[in-house]
Amino acid sequence: MFWKTEKTLGFPRSLGIVTASIAFSTNLQAKQIDWNKAESFFERTSRFWQMQDQSVQIVVLGSILIGISCGLIGSYVVTRRLSLFGDTLSHAVLPGIAIGFIWSQSKDNPALLIGAIIAGFLGVTCLTLLQKYTPIRQDSALGIVLSGFYAIGICLLTRIQKMEFGNQSGLESFLFGQASALSINDIWGIGITLAGIGLFVLATHKELLISGFDPSFARSIGIHTMLLQYGLWILLAFCIITSLQVIGVILASALLIIPAATASLLVKRMNAYLFLASLLGGIAGLSGTFLSFLGQGLPTGPLIVLVSTFLFLLVLGFRPKTGIFTHWNFSRTHSMRIKAENTLKALYHILESQNFEKTSITSQDLMQRVGIGRGDCDREVDLLIRMNLATQRSTKDSSKLPGQSLITLTPQGWEYACKIVRNHRLWELYLTNEAKYASDHVHEDAEKIEHVLGDQTIRQLERILSNPREDPHGKLIPSLDDIEHGGIKNKHAAEEGFRYSNPT
């Protein structure tokens, strides 16, 4: 049904897929949007993405700009360990907003902004004084300023609600944010803040970098670190104040921290970090606004935060090298490889014990050798077959146990098995000859290392041991020649002129 809607609206197909998937995911969450309302729901979606509504344009523009500026300055907040400072600052502006409201008696007034700036400045001053002149530690000082200012703000807000003002309903929106109430003036404020942050970062990029990571060095080469810090604080305050309308007092710090924290997991260079953080902030702003546009009465701020948390979790899970899923996948394939190698080794040992007279191994032998049951055996052989290292066929001999099968190594499998056994035996020899281990103590160690020895180490071992033929237990080490030419000469077999040749 919705493909039709999409075509009549002339949507690009990819955009349609994206919106549909977002729509589906919100549908799972939001109980109030049920399928009966689907029509209006998709209409809403299309209305949002076409952005013909001026109010939608303003809101989207506003939240993207806020996301970008928060991401940009948030990078410095996170690297300088100011995260909770941002949180405190955002709570501390509340009394300023309330007083500005009482002063101007309207919600859309620069008085609110001025009040917020003054209150934020007072908050920072209190914090600095507390830390400088009292033995109170940083965390308690932050808590004191945060809750003290917030309490005064709430006191004033509840007082305002009891007073007879005409337009007082909107003040609650400062707690959680209400993007739909953004006006064109707010956009100007946000835009100017972003421009200010951008200019500041461009102009003092090098100095900020040095003073952030090595303040004493920065001071020694004549950089005014305190000046830079105050500049950052002022911009941070502006950024928080302009974003209050969209994201609210309580969560304002989230948009500073989360995109920057996400970026810090991915990149190391500051330039890329700044870019990525602001990109993520912008994405979060856009999609959070979209989600809140879909439902009735959903606050924008929390949704923007949730989107950025979602992005953070994605990055946490799938980031290269250390991501949870990446790691899990790596260890899974790793353990699968080790399992396959151990089976190959067991197969080699069976062949060896039969003096390489047969070319295939019965599954019975494998089960006995490794000491596993039918199911495990089948699974391991399946793994080998999937990796194209062995083939399997059922026996024609009906006198044997039912379900028995013959396992035959492919050329690759044979080569691989030889390599593993070779690794194992070379290492054993190395331990006994060079490290002076007793020959009955070397097996466990070799059992572990055989899976990780690389080609180069093997060549080195060979050189040190001068191309040995036998391991400490008197067994033959499959030589390079054997591995490459697909055959092995057994001690006895060599005497009899028998040469095991690999089935092809």
Partner: protein, 310 residues
Amino acid sequence: MTLIPEFNFSKVFLEPWSTSTLINWNGQIMLMGFMVCWTCGIVGSFIVIRRMALMGDAISHGILPGLAIAFIISGSMGLGSMFFGACIAGLACNFSIEWLHTHTKLKEDAAMGLVFTSFFAFGVTLISMNSHLHIDPGCLLYGEIGLVPLSEKWKVFGFEMGNRSLWTIGLVFCGVVIGTIFFYGPLVVTSFDSTLAKSMGIPVKATHMSLMLALALSTVASLEAVGVILVVAMFVFPPVTAAFFLQRLPTILIGTFPLGIIYTWGGFHLAYWLDCSIAAAIAVVATLLFIPACLLGPNGGILWRLKFKT
């Protein structure tokens, strides 16, 4: 109507206690305020000496999704489900913060800010999605201690035990006091020197966990009264103010009791005068008391320091 009404001593201080109905009503509010201040003060003392004041902030925000989910599943404000949800969410918040700052390169402050804002945003979204739940997010933020006498009656096996909110905070308060008395040693040693505690065979992790649990429990119990953000004021202000006058931890713990009484009494009458939220007024009184303590306190106060410097 002006911002600050005219101050009238008899109206502010005597009127709330003029009739027996009013005494009963306001007495319950005061009792609630006392117990909230005491409970949070005791838990807060240990949190402040562990330099984890903002962990209190984080946990108190972080329990919100637990409460919301408990509401959604049980469909009512059942005590058991509320406490269960809050404890689970509080511990989850704590674990996520620790995991993030041990397993990634995020610093502790960033991890904290990230986790609690996300939890809080999740909780707020859940609540606003299920508008039929009749939870006012604003109320969760700054509480309404004035409505505590209206709280439903608590019934045990059909017996009416009285006001449920009061019973809840009372039980949590008793639990916290008993826990502090019994585990005072481990709590103190782990707070000041965790290596020594480990060598003495004290389970450091478990002590930490139970403190976090106590934090979550006292937050939930005070939720109706002061909300999730002002509770931070209740955690931080009593021990910090007391520490300007007293040096030893036991005296600080005892010092939170008179402070709690002053806070509640002052806040109640301030709110009666200004006609604003009582919980916020209690926190404002705490802030106002902190300022002279910080200036005049013999134990590190600013003026004393200046005097000794010259």
